[in-house]
């Protein structure tokens, strides 16, 4: 597998401009002759499709939902970072870059992360020009707020709906191109395979989710922007349709899967209330600005929280991290919640929760001020739990939120498969082993608006593409493959539900490949997943038919892929015998439970090459060494 990162030479701040200068262009009248497929209409896919179409390419866009506007990106709440330095608090591109690479615990590529920080400002300009209603000051200029892991105020936001507003901006830009006939939009279509001709990505196979029909689509390049794979844990903050299928099927066609074990677990979510639970709801991280996190000092203390006196409360974040207190980065906060619950100090009916208490903030600032800041969130919490956070502390617990791993890409965001580009959460590119808040939206839009449109052109300018059509045998083979997989799922006719399998897989992943991991647990996880996968293919029950709208069938296909991915994640976590960012190996932690990296041996991207699956998953490890020319590697400290 060729892992040439194609990073341009020269000083960090000049790499992208130099690259843009060197990039090959496609003449306007030739762009019209190129078809590009974009799978996914989230921030990354929506912005890429719109921008490619504006340039003149013929774009075909696909998504699972009934409208492009409903992609999972719509749910992002908190905000988007940029190094505008409007508040004049000393922010620079370098600082945004440095915070991002440090936040990622030095496991990302310097050049990509720097470019992300450079492009961040253009994204804000673009969004504002589209009419995205970001929050403003009374003077009419844009407002900023601060977010975890940074000491400057650089987050742009639109109340608690930043993702929605940015996505609608991208969606509207797309619809303009649909109107102009430059984008053909296919909603309720699921990509099931990648078609390769002459070693290059030349098309996809989809299932029409309404009619069940298997269809073939040809193009000169394919852009995958299909989001993250957090739903391998069954319960997560991701939307229900988020999945790994498109990325996984590309992996099976030869695309390297990088750092699959890097998963971010968000510290402030509403805890699980019962086994019918279908997803977890995030409570914005901003709550930690005023809420104090604590548990009772006494194990199993079941007094109502307000009856527990001050001296019997353990404010564990404030005690352990006096400098950052309740505002430590996400991974540190999540890990500590698990530690206190494992010790038996957890609260609520399940004992898997901690308190987030606004009593002191309300006393200090008054109920009105707190309600102005967090009123919506308090209501949402009360709506879900039936408890009023003005009166009793919230109960929160960590939940799976974001996946830093994804398909391997070079500096051009092209995978090792020529012609297959990967954007947004689906690639592994910019966040290393941990992502800072408000930087996924930035990355998705940077990839889609400002990188992909140029780098796809660079590829097409001199790609030698065979003259083919969709009757080519590669299309026959991929379409037959997709159909067989569906027939096989429907043919098992067992007696255990798809959801039960998914839930069991999620439990294994959460217990053994979750907040903290160890060698023994990971080995167990691998064999348990293998057994579960075996059982799935013997005993799953998928109702309904192939040629019809059939949500269970869709989910069954996705769970089948998660059952393979889960094993790869455990194997990746097992092989990475160090801790880094969100990947905490219990064997490698300080006395306070901090991650201890091993830069000598593990300063690389792990890219896995699929070899087959037969009882166990066969994958070969390839390494891209990470070289740090511009930053000095340090142990993170938030003390």
């Amino acid at each position: 597998m060729n892992l040439d990162s194609k990073v341009p030479s020269g000083p960090l701040e000049d790499k992208w401009s130099k690259h843009l200068k060197d990039i090959k262009l496609v003449a306007p009248n030739n762009k019209r002759k190129h078809d590009v497929i974009v799978v996914g209409t989230g921030l990354a896919g929506g912005s890429a499709a719109a921008s490619l179409a504006e340039l003149g390419y013929n774009v075909k866009s696909f998504c699972i939902q009934d409208s492009a506007r409903r992609a999972h990106s719509i749910a992002a709440q908190g905000g988007i970072n940029a190094a505008k330095n409007y508040p004049n608090d000393g922010d620079t591109i370098w600082r945004l870059f440095y915070d991002t690479i440090k936040g990622g615990d030095y496991r990302s590529r310097e050049s990509n992360t720097y470019r992300l920080a450079q492009i961040s400002n253009e994204i804000i300009d673009q969004a504002v020009a589209q009419g995205v209603p970001f929050a403003r000051e009374y003077g009419g200029l844009l407002a900023n707020r601060s977010f975890g892991g940074a000491q400057v105020s650089r987050t742009f936001y639109a109340r608690g709906q930043t993702g929605q507003q940015l996505l609608l901006g991208a969606y509207q830009a797309m619809m303009r191109q649909v109107h102009d006939g430059k984008i053909e939009m296919y909603t309720r279509h699921e990509m099931l395979d990648l078609v390769m001709v002459g070693g290059k990505a030349r098309g996809i196979v989809t299932r029409d989710l309404v009619s069940g029909e298997i269809q073939r689509w040809m193009a000169d390049a394919v852009v995958l922007a299909t989001g993250g794979y957090g739903n391998v844990f069954y319960l997560s903050t991701n939307a229900k349709n988020s999945n790994v299928t498109a990325a996984w099927r590309c992996h099976k066609r030869g695309a390297g899967f990088a750092n699959p074990c890097y998963v971010q677990i968000h510290p402030t979510c509403i805890p699980v209330s019962g086994d019918y639970q279908s997803k977890l709801t995030l409570m914005s991280e901003s709550l930690r600005n005023d809420g104090r996190v604590w548990v009772p000092k006494k194990k199993g203390d079941d007094r109502p929280p307000n009856d527990i006196p001050e001296e019997e409360r353990y404010y564990y974040l404030e005690e352990k991290y006096p400098a950052f207190g309740n505002l430590v980065p996400r991974d540190v906060a999540s890990r500590n919640a698990k530690i206190v619950c494992d010790k038996g100090m957890g609260v609520g009916p399940t004992g898997r929760a901690v308190y987030l208490d606004f009593r002191d903030a309300i006393k200090r600032d008054g109920r009105k001020t707190i309600s102005e800041k967090y009123g919506n969130l308090f209501e949402m919490y009360e709506n879900i739990t039936g408890d009023n956070p003005y009166e009793v502390p919230m109960r929160i617990f960590p939940a799976v939120h974001y996946t830093m791993g994804g398909l391997w890409v070079d500096y051009n965001l092209m995978s090792n498969v020529p012609g297959l580009f990967v954007a947004g959460e689906a690639n592994f590119s910019d966040h290393g082993a941990n992502r800072l808040g408000a930087s996924a939206l930035m990355q998705g839009l940077s990839d889609g608006y400002f990188i992909i449109p140029y780098t796809v052109g660079n590829y097409l300018a001199d790609a030698e593409l065979d003259e083919i059509d969709t009757t080519h045998q590669a299309f026959d083979e991929a379409a037959a493959n997709a159909q067989q997989h569906i027939d096989k799922l429907l043919g098992v006719q067992g007696d255990k539900s798809v959801i039960d399998f998914h839930r069991e897989l999620g439990q294994i992943m959460w217990d053994k490949v979750g907040i903290s991991r160890n060698e023994e647990g990971l080995k167990q996880a691998i064999s348990e997943i293998q057994e579960l996968r075996e059982e799935f293919w013997q005993n799953v029950r998928v109702p309904g038919e192939a040629a019809n709208y059939n949500k269970y069938l869709e989910f069954a296909g996705r769970v089948a892929d998660f059952l393979e991915l889960g094993e790869l994640m455990a194997r990746d976590a097992l092989h990475r015998d160090e801790s880094a960012g969100c990947h905490l190996r219990e064997e490698h932690q300080s006395e306070e439970g901090e991650a201890i990296r091993n830069d000598e041996e593990y300063s690389y991207v792990a890219a896995w090459e699929f070899q087959g699956v037969n009882g166990q998953l066969q994958e070969e490890l390839h390494k891209e060494n990470l070289e740090f020319e511009f930053v000095e590697l340090k142990q993170r400290s938030y003390k």
Binding site: E54, Q65, D66, S67, R69, R70, I74, A75, K84, E122, D125, Q126, V128, A129, Q130, G131, P133, F134, A135, R136, E137, Y138, G140, L141, A158, Q161, Q164, Y171, Q172, A173, M175, R176, V178, H179, M185, T187, A239, K240, S273, G274, Y276, Q277, S278, K279, M380, N383, I384, T385, G386, Y449, F450, P453, S497, R541, P543, G544, N548, Y549, N550, Y552
Partner: protein
């Protein structure tokens, strides 16, 4: 642990767009007050799959936190159910009690044909946006974001309208099946911003005409749409849309 209870459901079942549909009775035991409405339907579906006599009930959802606009059920005759400012997926079972009967139907409108069971086709909304619901700015052509200050109150009002999630409850609730609240909300968002000003007339006319083409009815000010809208979009949007439409359509200008 919370108490569990039993519910009686009457659910609209329709095998396909051209088939007849009907309400079918189901009983769900072990409903827990903390469940969401859709989780209650998941439990019912698991029951149906285990019994194996018929196919599970199809319904739309994705985010399950009230923002994507996918979920769309009419519950006891009301789009998104009994709670104001709440979509179907955010409705929790603590709003019901043991022995209740709940009727569940799809969003019905000529512009929203049924696909299967409770799933409808809302692509008409995409076509309304396609007709003009955007600012025509190319990627890379934008000036510095702070070069155009916008009065905070204007930006805040634009935001209020921009929070529409495109669910279609307004259409389902309207006796005329009008899509005016949805269309008006997008126009009220873009038309009041300086970025949206140059295309205001063209946008208004194009979107209103597309709405009519899609088979949505006229607005007769019933205000049912505002009452069910999970995002609290104000019907002032509709009056504003009309004013802009009149001005633009009868000005006789080249649009």
């Amino acid at each position: 642990m919370a108490d569990t209870f039993t519910l009686h459901l009457k659910v609209w079942r329709q095998a396909g767009p051209d088939q007849d549909g009907k309400l079918v009775d189901y009983t769900v035991d072990n409903v827990n007050e903390h469940m969401s409405f859709l989780e209650m339907l998941d439990v019912l579906n698991e029951q149906i799959v285990a019994e194996g006599r018929e196919e599970p009930i199809e319904f739309d959802y994705d985010c399950r936190e009230g923002i994507c606009g996918s979920c769309d059920l009419v519950i006891n005759g009301r789009a998104h159910g009994p709670k104001a400012m709440t979509c179907t997926c955010q409705l929790h079972m603590r709003n019901y009690s043991d022995g209740d009967t709940i009727v569940i139907e799809p969003f019905r409108a000529k512009g929203f044909p049924v696909i299967k069971d409770l799933v409808v086709d809302r692509s008409a909304f995409d076509r309304i946006i396609e007709a003009g619901g955007y600012v025509s700015v190319r990627t890379g052509a934008a000036p510095d974001a702070n070069s155009i200050p916008i009065e905070k109150s204007v930006a805040d009002t634009a935001f209020d309208y921009a929070t529409c999630i495109g669910c279609g409850a307004c259409v389902a609730a309207c006796p005329n099946s009008s899509a005016s609240l949805f269309t008006g909300a997008k126009l009220a968002h873009l038309n009041r911003l300086p970025q949206g000003e140059p295309e205001r007339k063209r946008r208004t006319v194009a979107m209103v005409e597309q709405m009519e083409k899609e088979g949505f009815g006229d607005c007769s000010n019933y205000a049912e749409c505002e009452a069910v809208c999970p995002k609290g979009i104000s019907i002032s949007a509709i009056a504003e849309m009309r004013r802009n439409y009149m001005k633009a359509a009868f000005a006789g200008e080249e649009l």
